[in-house]
């Protein structure tokens, strides 16, 4: 598969390519190469650190969209056992942009809901690049109801550019499907743990994107509107998405600062795709630790607390009147 290079990491990738070329040579027969390789390795490391040490919000958005970034499928395969996929909304169809399943995580029986991007073009076409139709949200809601009925905690994975803005989607009630998920999730009487693993695009992400704990990957984003669309509205120019990304306060750190996210999972330099296994394992640990805390109290307190979390979000002025 062709390698995907984000524009801002081009200098590093060029250097890495050069290093790989050198390493491919027969080092044993050319001892003087060893020193050169060592120098180059140090240089690559230095560049990697400076390049990725302080990613701008727009660069993080690009990392979050990297085609090799671990996706819902990778977390499911890496963390869960005995996975039984649940398909269909029982009304119209099965939207593959949303994955729902019964699964086991470290002894916890769980309902998993996640946006599902594909790895290959073929997969992505079937999954509509992870942008759900109303059926996807209705399938998610069906899974939530199942979790309620059988008292199973819910774990969700966010990775969508947003709900699909198609013609039939509008006619089949995209807004209704999302709103119903919000209402259902708001008082679902089981623990709900949300993990932002990639893109958190607006209402389509929010539909499965709030609960009792919000864990964000370092380079995942969560936003009211995509930076491109925001730039289009503000400047009539999608090329100014970088400015919009900064203005929208959409990074994991921003969400911590705003009191919306609870914790951030660090990623290896360059992003989770450079070394997925430890990131996936860390996410698993954060989920089980959250479930242990959240399962300790009673359901009434859980729901009061969830409502209280939402209730506290917002900054406004209030006079005496």
């Amino acid at each position: 598969m062709a390698r995907f290079v984000m524009e801002f990491e081009r200098p590093l990738v060029d250097l890495e390519d050069k290093l790989a070329e050198l390493k491919a040579l027969d080092v044993a027969s050319l001892p003087e190469l060893a020193a050169e390789i060592e120098d180059l390795e140090r240089e690559v490391e230095r560049l990697r650190e400076t390049l990725y040490a302080a990613l701008s919000p727009w660069e993080r958005v690009q990392v979050s969209r990297h085609p090799s970034r671990p996706k819902t499928d990778d977390y499911v395969a890496g963390l869960f056992t005995d996975v039984v996929e649940l398909r269909g909304d029982r009304a119209y169809g099965d939207d593959e942009a949303v994955f729902t399943a019964l699964a086991t995580l470290d002894g916890w029986r769980i309902v998993v809901i996640g946006h599902r991007k594909g790895r290959t073009t073929k997969e992505n076409v079937r999954r509509n690049f992870g942008s759900p139709h109303p059926e996807g949200f209705r399938k998610a809601r069906r899974a939530m109801r199942l979790a309620e009925k059988f008292s199973l905690p819910v774990v969700t994975f966010l990775d969508t550019a947003g709900a699909y803005p198609g013609l039939e989607d509008e006619e089949r009630g995209q807004a209704w499907a999302i709103a119903e998920c919000l209402a259902t999730l708001s008082d679902l009487p089981v623990p709900v743990v949300v993990v932002g693993i990639g893109e958190g695009g607006s209402g389509g992400a929010l539909a499965i994107g709030f609960g009792d704990r919000l864990i964000m990957l370092e380079n995942a984003y969560y936003s009211v509107i995509s930076p491109e669309m925001c730039a289009m509205i503000l400047y009539k120019d999608t090329a100014r998405a970088a400015e919009s990304a900064s203005a929208l306060a959409l990074t994991a750190d921003d969400l911590m600062r705003l009191g919306i996210a609870d914790e951030v999972v660090p990623e290896p330099l360059g992003g989770a795709h450079r070394d997925p296994a430890p990131v996936i394992a860390a996410v698993g640990e954060r989920i089980t630790s959250a479930l242990e805390t959240l399962s300790a109290g009673d359901t009434g307190a859980l729901l009061e607390n969830r409502y209280g979390r939402l209730r506290a979000i917002g900054v406004f002025a209030e006079g005496d009147g």
Binding site: E170, Y222, A247, L248, G314
Partner: protein, 289 residues
């Protein structure tokens, strides 16, 4: 002055094309109906709840007029009037968010894009709110989310029905994620009202879009819309760009929403009060005590 220019100037003087509400206009002003292109005398328009007497086109109304058109005369008592937006992200693009807010406050005489309060409809106790599209497109930021949430909470505490007249451009992007989360917050409050067994009627007016449609607006027990109102999640331009063909006639109109099973009816403005009262008669019996 060349005679053509004189005509042009005279045209623009005579056919005052207005945006915003007729309530802002003095009685002596003429306006052109976008529905039938007829020239209307503002005094006549105002007398008919801002509905064109020729073709039935529903002009935009300001929030206060929306409420007045629905509630029993003199029964409205405003709540949380002082809640207003601030600029938590120091958002500045083409112009600073604080400037947009100041301009909206100046021109609308409102602290925020929604008016809320207690009232009676057909004698029954309601908590009522109306959004005002003139105010930053009636978009939902922290302040709108808070006022709508408090309205639901007031209704629960005082056993009232909720009636909301909704128009909105969606979540207010100038407050970023704080705005997106207001969708969950208002939906959670609407859900609490539902659990309390209290009715909620929403009236969707032109235009209602984005994060407001996809949260409290459509979580009502009964949803009505005004004739011709456009309601959806994604705006028509975005949908058109996405599917790369032109949209069918009437796409996202209130009339097509009925056909697709999304709302309970298209109700002309003059009949809305009676229709809402009839619903409350069934869903909030004894609510007049």
């Amino acid at each position: 002055m060349p005679i053509n220019d004189w005509f042009k100037q005279r045209e623009s003087r005579r056919y005052t094309v207005t945006s915003g509400s007729g309530a802002d206009l003095p009685d002596g002003v003429w306006r052109t109906c976008p529905g039938c292109r007829k020239t209307l005398y503002q005094g006549d328009v105002a007398k008919s709840l801002s509905v064109c007497p020729h073709c039935g086109h529903h002009f935009e109304l300001i929030a206060a007029d929306r409420i007045e058109a629905l509630v029993d005369p003199g029964s409205f008592e405003q709540t949380n009037a002082s809640i207003g937006s601030v600029d938590p992200l120091r958002f500045s693009a083409v112009k600073p968010y604080t400037e947009s807010l100041a301009a909206a406050r100046e021109s609308c005489g409102l602290a925020e894009a929604v008016i809320t309060g207690r009232a009676r409809i057909g004698g029954r106790a309601v908590a009522i709110g109306a959004l005002d599209f003139r105010f930053v497109g009636a978009s939902m930021g922290s302040a709108v989310g808070e006022k709508v949430t408090r309205l639901f909470e007031l209704a629960i505490a005082e056993r009232r029905a909720v009636v909301l007249v909704v128009a909105s451009g969606g979540a207010r992007m100038q407050e970023g994620m704080l705005s997106l989360m207001q969708m969950a917050k208002t939906a959670a409050a609407a859900e609490r009202l539902a659990r309390a067994g209290l009715p909620y009627v929403s009236v969707l007016v032109n235009p209602t879009y984005g994060g407001v449609t996809a949260s409290f607006a459509v979580l009502a027990d009964v949803i009505f819309a005004e004739p011709g109102a456009l309601v959806g999640f994604a705006g028509p331009r975005l949908v058109e760009q996405t599917i790369r063909r032109s949209l069918p006639k009437g796409f996202q109109s209130a009339e097509s929403l009925v056909d697709h099973g999304m709302i309970d009816g298209v109700v002309p403005r003059a009949e809305m009060r009676g229709r809402v009262a009839a619903v409350l008669g069934y869903l909030l019996p004894g609510g007049d005590v």
